[in-house]
């Protein structure tokens, strides 16, 4: 599986993502600058965590205007896999690739801790190596992870099996405890918790490995 990580000004989990991808795939990920207009030939594009453009205006809003987004939208339209983690999820909702929006945490505080998640669906390229209903622990680190969408959208996400991860103890006020969702074509995943931070026991766990193993199996 060939992968690329997008680097925006003030991305700060881009290297974590690249390290995890190299550890899992044995291949270096291409680092793609936000001002580039083309992606290299890759199977997976990762939008990493961070505070792109200082979260100016709204988190993810400026990143969505960057040059590389056109290529990312084209990649997604062709069925290419896109994974948005944390700020990457915020960019994906701003871009319309995923529905809804991420708002200020209900408790107003930045939340940085490991959280328990239920894997709601194993029917996807991102979760096929997990058991449906399994509990995993990923860290969260965000101030704006409070997922919002209108009831109609939430019902559709539930009805179509597009809620991939749900918090077991909601840290941010997210609607229906949503931590991660898929697009309708099931090739774009956005989630607030960080699977790339739990691929090595040295850094606190290995529950994220199966997400990358799923992608490797699905995309190689």
């Amino acid at each position: 599986m060939k992968s690329a990580v997008i680097v925006f000004p003030a991305s700060n989990c881009d290297r974590d993502a690249a390290t995890a991808l190299e550890e899992m795939t044995g291949k270096k990920a291409a680092m793609v600058w936000h001002q580039d207009s083309e992606l290299p030939d890759v199977d997976l594009v990762v939008l990493p965590g961070g505070f792109s453009y200082g979260d100016y205006l709204r988190c993810g809003a400026m990143a969505n205007q960057s040059k590389i987004m056109g290529a990312i939208k084209a990649h997604a339209a062709k069925g290419g896999a896109v994974l948005g983690i944390c700020n990457g999820f915020q960019v994906l909702t701003e871009s319309g690739l995923l529905p809804g929006a991420l708002m200020r945490n209900a408790g107003l505080k930045f939340v940085c801790k490991p959280v328990s998640l239920r894997v709601e669906e194993s029917q996807s390229s991102f979760t096929r190596k997990y058991e449906k209903g399994q509990t995993v622990t990923f860290p969260v680190a965000h101030g704006e992870g409070n997922y919002y969408a209108d009831d109609e959208t939430l019902n559709r996400l539930d009805g179509e099996g597009r809620v991939m991860f749900r918090y077991q103890d909601n840290p941010n006020g997210s609607a229906r405890d949503i931590a991660g969702i898929l697009n309708q074509k099931r090739n774009v995943l956005g989630l607030m918790p960080h699977p790339e931070r739990v691929v090595d026991p040295l850094t606190g766990g290995t529950d994220g490995r199966k997400l990358f193993e799923s992608l490797i199996e699905a995309l190689s």
């Binding site: 809003a61 708002m103 919002y148 969408a149 006020g173």
Partner: protein, 79 residues
């Protein structure tokens, strides 16, 4: 031409910052304060001289960037 854009959360969208501001005002002794909702003001200088054209262009700016219409609404004021 100068324009001012107000961006606020849609009715029904929870505003935790507004809530915290309300609590703080109550704490300062302003007991009459009930619900508080906060938002953004964006001032723009435009070279456009036709108010109708300016308004149309500002609407497009709001839809494309200034507001996230999933959660926010906007008002445009030409001054």
């Amino acid at each position: 031409m100068k324009a001012r854009v107000f961006v606020t959360l849609k009715n029904g969208v929870l505003d935790p910052q507004g809530k915290a501001i309300g609590h703080a005002l109550n704490g300062l002794g302003f007991e009459s304060v009930g619900e508080v909702r906060q938002g953004k003001v964006i001032d723009l200088d435009l070279s456009e001289t036709d108010a109708a054209k300016a308004k149309a262009s500002l609407k497009e700016m709001c839809e494309k960037l200034l507001a996230n219409t999933v959660i926010e609404k906007y008002e445009i004021e030409i001054r």
